[in-house]
């Protein structure tokens, strides 16, 4: 039971960070992206790469990059930057596990968020910005007073998608950390398959479902999105 609670907390932290980083990054990037049309195509392909690679495959790629010797990219990088001794056990050290997972998850899901927000940005009429220009509003002001309010429904949808995805995260945790550290979903999985405790695992699944449900409702309330 205690493990269960810890697992919920771990996933919550994971979710909060992953989401926060994802959304922040994305608003900026897609703002910029809507400005230039020509390179959009190339960039779009690049952005779809992390999305298109199976999570199982990308998890193994990252697992290799997080290796605990200087054969792993991050240990090379950290040592080049003068951090660590080139032997940081990213996936074993409790303090490093979550940052590593967040890095992978942000990499994997930010592009999708950016594409969602980009689609939202493209719905905002250009006239509004021209009018703001005439009225002498600066870029920052335009962003606060036009872009952000009008993008709110899209941000809400993106947040909902992202949160629900992050709460039920499974593939990355199962492949990279196995049983070193659980997410809610991997916990339910190991209880089912390794533990053969079907009832207990079902209970865990139901808890996950309700957590997701509560978050979805909360978000939709909070951001004032109504069904029309």
């Amino acid at each position: 039971m205690r493990v269960g609670v810890i697992v919920v907390l771990v996933t919550a932290m994971f979710r909060a960070f992953g989401m926060f980083v994802g959304v922040r990054l994305v608003v900026r990037v897609s703002m910029r992206m809507s400005m230039i049309v020509r390179m959009r195509m190339g960039m779009r392909v690049v952005m779809l790469v992390p999305w298109a690679i199976p999570t199982a495959v990308s998890s193994r790629m990252w697992e290799w990059m997080f290796r605990d010797t200087r054969a792993g990219f991050f240990n090379i990088l950290f040592q080049d930057l003068g951090l660590g001794n080139g032997q940081i056990p990213f996936l074993v050290d409790k303090a490093w596990q979550l940052p590593a997972m967040i890095t992978i998850d942000v990499w994997k899901t930010t592009p999708f968020m950016a594409l969602l927000l980009l689609a939202g940005l493209q719905l905002i009429s250009h006239d509004l910005y021209e009018a703001a220009d005439v009225d002498g509003a600066g870029r920052l002001r335009q962003f606060w007073s036009i872009t952000l309010p009008l993008l709110r429904p899209t941000i809400a949808v993106a947040l909902v998608f992202r949160t629900l995805d992050a709460i039920r995260v499974f593939d990355v945790f199962q492949i990279v950390l196995q049983q070193k550290r659980y997410s809610m979903a991997t916990y339910a999985y190991y209880e089912l398959i390794d533990g053969q405790r079907m009832g207990y695992s079902s209970a865990a699944s139901v808890v996950i479902f309700f957590v997701i449900f509560v978050f979805a409702v909360l978000y939709i309330r909070m951001l004032g999105v109504r069904n029309d």
Binding site: L48, R168, L192
Partner: protein, 288 residues
């Protein structure tokens, strides 16, 4: 003058940001290619090199045996076959059922249409984990083989999405088309099959593509349902559980080669259909 200069600086910063992001997104893929072209000795070099280099003299030295090893790995080949069967069947089934459903929901009037639409929409966000245990129990009780159970369970997430996107597409088609077909004496099914369906081709391609990619990449159900049936493993599971033919250590060179082999077809799909994929991905979300 000053304004022009800030503009110029802004532009450089902008491109810098874009380049940094592009590197960030592509680097893991590059590192995998780099590692897949290294031999075991080259992989153990510390520090690891950004290009495959000869441990002795540091010259560039590509090693292709990982790729031949991957294609001789029976488990990987079986995995590819299974993945093709599962992904193609899932896509075909969800397009078939989805377009029937979408036609009804988009063009016909019947009681309970609105609730069904909401039900379908909420199903697109339904967490797979929540039904994992239940499905596992059902499959064990029915004694279903792993491959059909994967196909059936994948419909859980491909079908609602397909139906949802197709429905809005059908709604957009002019009702006059249906009416004139009716006047000409076509049955509703003929109207659907001969007149409306060909017009929905673009939506079929988009949703089919996304359904295929989702089914191809699925891991949780595939892993769980093939626990007792290793021969039915799909590619993601095969890669996650990849072991070499001989060595005791995890053969990361081969794993990376397998990863590249699996990723290339998906990248080609993305390259060819990027516009459609983006349209499909954002279809449900933005109009919301």
């Amino acid at each position: 003058m000053t304004e022009q200069r800030t503009n110029w600086i802004g532009r450089i910063l902008f491109w810098l940001v874009i380049i940094v992001i592009a590197i960030y997104l592509l680097f893991p893929f590059y590192w995998a290619i780099n590692s897949s072209l290294k031999s075991e000795a080259q992989l153990q070099m510390t520090p690891g090199t950004y290009l495959p280099r000869n441990p002795a003299d540091g010259s560039i030295d590509l090693f292709f045996r990982n790729y031949t090893a991957v294609f001789q790995n029976q488990r990987f080949i079986t995995g590819l076959k299974n993945s093709v069967i599962v992904a193609v069947s899932t896509t075909a089934l969800s397009l078939l059922i989805g377009s029937f459903g979408a036609f009804a929901l988009g063009k016909l009037r019947f009681r309970g249409k609105q609730p069904s639409l909401y039900l379908i929409l909420s199903m697109t966000m339904f967490p797979q984990v929540a039904v994992l245990t239940g499905l596992y129990a059902v499959i064990r009780t029915l004694n279903l083989d792993a491959i059909p159970s994967m196909i059936l369970s994948y419909l859980l997430f491909t079908l609602p999405f397909t139906t949802w996107v197709m429905t809005s597409f059908f709604e957009g088609l002019p009702t006059e088309l249906m009416q004139s077909a009716q006047v000409d004496g076509a049955t509703p099914f003929q109207t659907f099959y001969k007149i409306l369906l060909p017009l929905t081709m673009p939506a079929l391609v988009t949703t089919g593509l996304l359904a295929f990619i989702n089914a191809w990449n699925e891991y949780l159900f595939a892993l769980t349902f093939t626990t007792i049936e290793p021969n039915a493993r799909t590619v993601p599971v095969a890669i996650a559980l990849f072991t070499g033919q001989v060595s005791f250590q995890e053969p990361f060179g081969e794993i990376m080669a397998a990863a590249i082999v699996v990723t290339i077809p998906l990248l080609l799909l993305v390259l060819i259909f990027q516009q459609r994929i983006v349209a499909g991905l954002t279809a449900g979300a933005v109009k919301g």
